[in-house]
Symmetry: C2
Subunit: 294 residues, 2 copies
């Protein structure tokens, strides 16, 4: 089976590489902090010392890094030339749609296809291969990478067409919706508690009927249990980065989004209070603390 390059083995990249190895793919791994990728070597991955070393001419590289700055640093001339004509870069990071469009144009100059394929999955969902992928880019390239997404993390794949930025727009919308759901529940549970109604019954009723969906079920339980810090599988800092991208994309396209502004402000407060090990679910603390609740 083909050998794939993989750049970025953070919380989310790590289980995806594990799945690819289990599925029989060869994987050449580059991670900025080499130590974090070391256990993958035991599982059969080859660790390399630069992004360009992870790829072969005409091959496929998948990248999953923290932000626009990181992807721009990685996906420069060296990587693109090493991939060369027929090569594909599967860009899985949550980044600005415009950054994807600029990178796609740059890649194409060397005959490389850039496919945006951001990931909807917390690490445990990626490990269980029940995540969702949204993809946009060249049709032939999308067809070629589908099996990799399925082997790596995706139960569902949604195709957003050929504009590379489109999948990133949907990824930002998805994260905005999750943040909005957290705020909705936080205000609701606060109102319940302040009116002597048990938030657990409210949670149970809402998440088994009108709002019986994974987001409300999983995040709702974390709010009821005040599970805001500890071992964040999606940190408040990364969540804030995403909401900033939502507002930046909204501003550029003249789209007023008052709810997005509210949740961005909530997460800013979480970081202002210096809760470094906060999960982004901690944005729920805003509504609870504003109501005088612990």
């Amino acid at each position: 089976m083909e050998t794939i390059g993989f750049i970025g083995t953070g919380n989310l990249g790590y289980p995806i590489v594990e799945n690819l190895l289990k599925a029989g793919y060869g994987v050449s791994v580059y991670n900025r902090t080499r130590e974090k990728a070391l256990p993958l070597q035991q599982l059969g991955a080859v660790l390399v010392n630069s992004p360009a070393e992870a790829v072969v001419q005409g091959g496929i590289v998948m990248s999953l890094v923290s932000d626009d700055k990181a992807i721009i640093a990685i996906a420069g001339d060296a990587l693109v030339k090493a991939l060369g004509a027929g090569g594909i870069h599967v860009s899985m990071s949550t980044i600005s749609p415009d950054t994807s469009r600029i990178l796609a144009a740059h890649h194409l100059e060397e005959g490389v296809q850039y496919v945006a394929a951001p990931v909807f999955a917390r690490p445990e969902a990626a490990a269980a291969k029940v995540g969702t992928a949204v993809i946009s880019g060249n049709d032939a390239a999308k067809a070629r990478i589908r099996p990799l997404l399925e082997a790596g993390f995706a139960k569902n794949i949604f195709d957003l067409g050929d504009d590379a930025g489109s999948a990133n727009v949907l990824k930002l919308i998805g994260n905005f919706m999750i943040a909005g759901a957290i705020e909705m529940m936080a205000e609701s549970f606060a109102l319940a508690e302040k009116n002597k109604v048990d938030p657990r019954v409210v949670y149970e009723m809402l998440t088994t009927t009108l709002f019986a969906s994974p987001i409300f079920r999983n995040y709702g339980a974390m709010i009821v249990d005040r599970k805001f810090t500890g071992d964040p599988s999606f940190s408040a800092a990364l969540g804030l980065k995403d909401l900033n991208l939502v507002l930046e994309t909204a501003a550029r396209s003249y789209t007023p989004m008052p709810l997005a502004q509210l949740v961005q402000s909530r997460l800013t407060t979480v970081l202002a209070k210096d809760t470094k090990d906060a999960d982004w679910i901690a944005l729920a603390m805003g509504a609870l603390e504003d109501a005088g609740l612990k």
Copy 2:
């Protein structure tokens, strides 16, 4: 089988009375506008000319009217004395928790149990008996009325304890959550459209994965199709009344709810623009119109 009193055969009360009749109950119906209840006579209901005439000593009366003012007008001394000791008033309207508490105390002076049992169901869901009931009040009374709720509209029943106002608090929370979901989707679909991403694909992805729940599925389709007016099964005016009750309850309990304020303001604008046949889903127009979309 027992004969039940039923007060208020509006959009929601009507199909519930139909179901009760089908289930074999006798139903004495009072509706302020008598003509609207006339077709129920053909199905076996007995039409009466005042709320008190709909009840028998020690019997059960169900009420489902539009607001606090209407329930206070109906549930006065005449009704309570006609019910008498052992009687039960099942109050299904969406009203203030405090109004429920005041009525419950007043009913109890004559030995009447007041059970709050607001309805989560649009009329078509009530007709299909897939609605949800939330109930609070005296335990024995709740046990006695359960079969009526199941025969009338409810697939699920959630018990909020003995404080009459608690079920009303949860009903208000539920409606706030629905309004919040509408705002979230409206801002999201606006962002998609302004960035040349098809809102239908966004809708499909979100409502089959992260947000695969009836509220997002049903209301989301109405937003994508711009189905805001016509034959509202839940009018913007009633929706605004509910959001005003949410904010009133929030204010009394010192619970800041910025998202509730936002959606209340959105619905106020719908009514300010004089769209009299608007469904409350029309609050989605706010985010779309603010973004310059039709």
